[in-house]
Symmetry: C2
Subunit: 314 residues, 2 copies
């Protein structure tokens, strides 16, 4: 599988830590030390999960190695849906008039983007699709419960998209060497660790510590496994792109893996936790930095719980 093109969209409004100083008495330094966040992106009143996805895709239309309407599979990834019937994938299909594609939207919380890529792998394996569009989009603010002291200040909004083909389209493609996900609903606090219950309290994090511990553990396990399975060593990794939940988790994972800080890609300081879109946005923001033979390792952890990893080679 090959990523042919990638892009992202971040809302222009930034909410700085002083908002939470005024709202909840949390200081800038307190938030930054515990999360690495200085500010977070926030969708405007007329934006939502679906509009942000469309904005992420628009810059790529016209520069793809095929017409956007030649896409035959659209997989949306979000745990913050605007509409669970007219889903993220269907909205994109309608907007860009992609007339011959399967469309489905998935959630595995903050792992959803990697799950979406693994689902694409399956469609490619059956031969039912050859050109996929994966969109990860999160409108955390729509569901954020400001009463949750553990998490209200963590969330950002944004979207990313990746066009993925079964065969190489250009020398600029980045190969997806492997992708893997693991369901962890049976581990630790599992489905109780973090909630997004649309009709019952929104997005809250009752067990932040349990998430922290398990994210540290399983992001490292997924990363190590996918590298070794593909006969590389962790020292071969040029860039580590961890899920942007918390800088302390990222630091811990990098340390366990022996990846030095200069090779860790992060945007959490300026965006907050943009959910399952976070690693896709990081990849997009750094796409031009990657040079031939670079090995890029993505590793994620999601509430619920789930983990996943993806190994890319330029």
């Amino acid at each position: 599988m090959y990523i042919n093109a990638i892009s992202h969209y971040l809302p222009s409004t930034l909410v700085h830590n002083d908002y939470y100083t005024q709202l909840k008495g949390l200081t800038d330094e307190w938030i930054f030390q515990r999360s690495g966040i200085r500010r977070r992106t926030r969708a405007a009143d007329d934006e939502n999960t679906n509009t942000m996805a469309i904005e992420a895709i628009i810059p790529l239309v016209g520069s793809l190695p095929y017409d956007v309407t030649d896409v035959d599979l659209i997989v949306g990834a979000t745990y913050t849906p605007y509409d669970t019937v007219g889903t993220l994938a269907h909205t994109v299909q309608g907007h860009f008039k992609i007339h011959s594609a399967t469309a489905v939207t998935v959630t595995s919380a903050c792992s959803s983007f990697i799950n979406a890529v693994e689902i694409v792998e399956g469609y490619f394996a059956t031969g039912k699709a050859k050109r996929a569009l994966v969109i990860a989009s999160e409108h955390n603010y729509m569901y954020t419960n400001e009463d949750c002291d553990q998490s209200a200040h963590l969330w950002g909004d944004g979207a990313g998209c990746a066009f993925i083909s079964s065969e190489q389209c250009s020398v600029d493609d980045i190969e997806i060497i492997d992708v893997h996900t693991t369901g962890l609903g049976h581990i630790g606090k599992g489905v109780s660790g973090v909630h997004l219950r649309p009709s019952n309290g929104g997005l809250t994090m009752p067990y932040g510590r349990d998430i922290f511990v398990n994210a540290c553990k399983f992001m490292a396990v997924e990363a190590k496994d996918i590298v070794e399975k593909n006969h590389y060593m962790l020292g071969d990794v040029n860039y580590l792109v961890p899920h942007q939940a918390n800088s302390r988790i990222m630091d811990h994972v990098a340390k366990v893996l022996g990846v030095e800080q200069s090779r860790v890609i992060s945007n959490i300081e300026d965006t907050g936790n943009t959910g399952c879109a976070s690693t896709l946005i990081c990849l997009s923001q750094n796409w031009r930095k990657f040079t031939k033979d670079d090995l890029i390792l993505v590793t994620v952890f999601g509430g619920g719980y789930s983990s996943g990893a993806m190994l890319l080679k330029k």
Copy 2:
């Protein structure tokens, strides 16, 4: 692919049409003539999408040809999520302690169950899974907007589950000969036809007529295509299991396909539209009726829009 076991759960509370006579002046005959519905199932206050899924699975534990913990892929299907982070699939994983499985929950509205089966097909094709658990569960009432005159009286609650293996496990298995889905977000009113916007009006149906017309068309197209692609004729079909949205749609599809009424399986009179769980519940309710060599055709249409079909052989 083979369905090894199937089950369902319907809440015990039935809401009869006279509830909507009192609420909105809709008579029993008016509702029945337009939808085929006399009563609909309604989850109790302490039930939700996830608890109903667990209830659907419990009767099968102990009688499967393998231990429930040997499942290596769990795909949840719902457009009425209780929790989009601790998802349907993750809740099932946690409850039954399924320790080595991928877990993801998908929505393509009322087509979601068929999309879930197609995703299983992909995991089987890559060799990443061999034993899958698909759960379709809908708690429509949680999101029903009683102000929507077009749709408030249509919805029921319920769940179904199917254990699916890549290889045959027993002579009682039913083979999935083929499965197919189509995204139709670009057709007709598309994502505007029916909404479930958790933070903006819940479940409403602004364009019922557009849905009716496109459901009639695409359920027939999907059904005909999958039968012919697999070198059968519509006359070979022993049972037609259409999505249970509306008896008039089902009648129309059966007529276009030339399938006589006695071969059409329906439960809508007693359950209402149980969303993506509806065909799975119908299959479960009639599982013992199917005899050797029976050909069973499932065809669905979902808001957003989507269509899908599945061809089964006993």
